[in-house]
Assembly symmetry: C2
Homo-oligomer: 388 residues x 2
């Protein structure tokens, strides 16, 4: 036994050796010339990974929840109307955060867990009121539901709402063209498809979002989130000048720059295609094993993770068994069905071998749980796609 | 040349190889049993390092500024009276943050840059009004001013104010006994004397602070800072149970636990004494070289860093020369005197050899700047203390 399992949860994920080496490098000063250059390069590479050449990136120490908080705190003023396209746990969270800063929130709910609101319902809601912004959860990490982001963003743009995308479980994995699709702000966290250990909130704000921020009449209610403090810092790093507000997480930013370089070396289209292919292979295995998924249909399913229901007679003990067989998986997160399903992340640097090893561990866990299936049927289903 | 300079700024600092190895370890799940155990142990060790056995620790992804923001957001309600004992840049910042959450802030100003407000002035201010809390900057990173924390905290306790200490540049270096000295909340950042790369906001709240939080009538205005969300998470990790709010920065927390273990292995009293001794040696060198310091007197000077004025005829070009000679130093930060002084951090894992190497680099930089002094006089002054 190597004594280490594959980390196949929907974040943190498996990181590349180069990223981990950057994490463990001797820390330098946050105003040292080499670090200023690295930070500036990371900001430029973020624009390319988000496919938002005219965006303003923000890299701030914190979690993905902080990224959501930053978006809401800077774009919402008390009394603003906001529309939440609700696909689960993290959409609920965005609604809570928007309300914290004084927004009047309207939600378009999905018809059921595992589904997304129909485009017509979102369009009707947008036409029934004037919203300053709308939020879309590209991939809900709790249920593996992915939405038709391009169409939803177009609806928001057409009705004049700022389009804010929670891309925590999507950016650099799930296809997203921020600028071309009219997304005014997209955000993520480092430990997801972008491939860096947890600790960075990452946002790219387009010109309309920055303009809405500049036109604020009231101060931002959250000090640490305030773009008034951070914007000059990001601009200074972009321009190669030293500056200071809060000490940046030097090692994480160094690792971010390494990872973004690897993402861009693969190329965004190739990366999206690899995520689709590995996801298809993994989901084919899950289906071949007779397990259903939380998303109600394949076009509602994300490519960055899979959320299978436990089969009859099997429960969360499967996770411990898969772990012993070599793969760390995640339990359910959506409160209403928490104990009935599990989650497998397959994003970032994940390889075909990781996918097969994970399916192997799940098959072993299922067998130990007394579930009846033909051993190897999941592996074969995946392999038939991986060998295409 | 090794191609790497000593990092002698007031944070980030030089980290131990064990801490850097933990940073670069393969990341595990934030709910994996081994990580839960490590996080729980880090929380318990924080209590010991802060010398606050009955405190509630919080470890949250972010910078030291976030730690200040968390303190203010959770303890201040609109209209609360707050007193700021002002010793410079970071006291100004605390006043700004307190006001952001609706506090009416009164400041007791230091008589001059490099000084601290007299105890009598603070006592008079406390008696002239009823304050919900007072803030004290233990060490102002911008000027190297250290205050008589024990006496100031006692004044606050006597007058019934919550005593909140910004210990960003002090905790685990400068002597502080949180519980014995009546400090209701102390906070720091990972990259200072606690010895972990930047990216963690660290707080320990005593029972009176937690009680004040529980008695709040209004919600916390800052979502990411809200203890209502974080307290159950810290309690879960303490109890060895999985939980989730925001994904914790796994590698940084693993490194934190390693570093706290090293701090406690040295022992708090021995650690404070080592910081005093190395500071004394470094300051003796600065004085022997004929440089004055920003703090107006030795009993206003911190032991975690030194802020010397450039001598006549020398300016910030000294930093580049010291850098080329092997030590990264920091420029001035206090806006009023920014270009007139520099800063040298000597905290955490810093050794006597690091102190000598840094003095050596400064002497070489001074010589190249045309400053007249007897080469080695600084080194000799330090060595006479280091050999005692």
């Amino acid at each position: 036994m190597k004594g280490r399992q594959l980390l196949m949860i929907p974040g943190p994920i498996e990181f590349t050796p180069e990223v981990l080496r950057a994490m463990g490098m001797s820390t330098t000063s946050h105003v040292a010339p080499d670090f200023i250059q690295v930070f500036g390069q990371a900001l430029e590479q973020l624009r390319q990974v988000f496919l938002c050449p005219h965006g303003q990136p923000f890299v701030i120490a914190g979690s993905g929840t902080l990224a959501m908080d930053i978006a809401a705190a800077n774009l919402i003023e008390p009394g603003d109307q906001a529309l939440v396209v609700n696909t689960g746990y993290f959409s609920d969270r965005f609604a809570t955060i928007l309300e914290r800063y004084g927004a009047a929130v309207t939600q378009v709910q999905a018809p059921s867990i595992g589904d997304a609101p129909p485009l017509e319902a979102v369009e009707a809601a947008l036409k029934a009121n004037t919203y300053k912004l709308m939020t879309i959860t590209h991939v809900d990490t709790s249920t593996a539901v992915g939405v038709d982001l391009q169409s939803l963003a177009a609806l928001g743009q057409n009705q004049g709402a700022l389009v804010v995308v929670d891309g925590v479980c999507s950016v650099a994995g799930e296809e997203m063209h921020q600028e071309a699709w009219g997304i005014d702000l997209a955000l993520t966290a480092s430990q997801k498809a972008i491939g860096v250990p947890p600790g960075l909130a990452l946002l790219v704000a387009g010109p309309r979002a920055m303009e809405a921020f500049r036109r604020r009449k009231s101060p931002v209610g959250n000090y640490y989130a305030d773009w008034k403090e951070w914007l000059p810092i990001m601009e200074a790093y972009q321009a190669g000048r030293p500056s200071y507000f809060g000490t940046p997480p030097v090692n994480l930013i160094w690792a971010l720059n390494v990872s973004l370089g690897q993402v861009l070396e693969e190329g965004m289209e190739a990366r999206f295609a690899r995520h689709r292919r590995l996801s298809e292979a993994f989901k084919a295995a899950i289906t071949a094993l007779g397990l259903k998924q939380v998303p109600v249909s394949p076009n509602r399913a994300a490519t960055t993770l899979t959320a299978p229901y436990y089969p009859q007679g099997v429960g969360p003990e499967l996770l411990g068994r898969a772990n012993a067989a070599g793969a760390i998986l995640a339990g359910g997160l959506h409160p209403a069905i928490k104990g009935q399903y599990f989650r497998v992340g397959h994003m970032g640097a994940v390889s075909a071998s990781d996918i097969l090893a994970t399916i192997g561990a799940i098959e072993q866990g299922l067998a130990q749980s007394g579930y009846k299936f033909e051993p190897g049927i999941g592996l074969a289903a995946a392999q038939s796609i991986l060998t295409q």
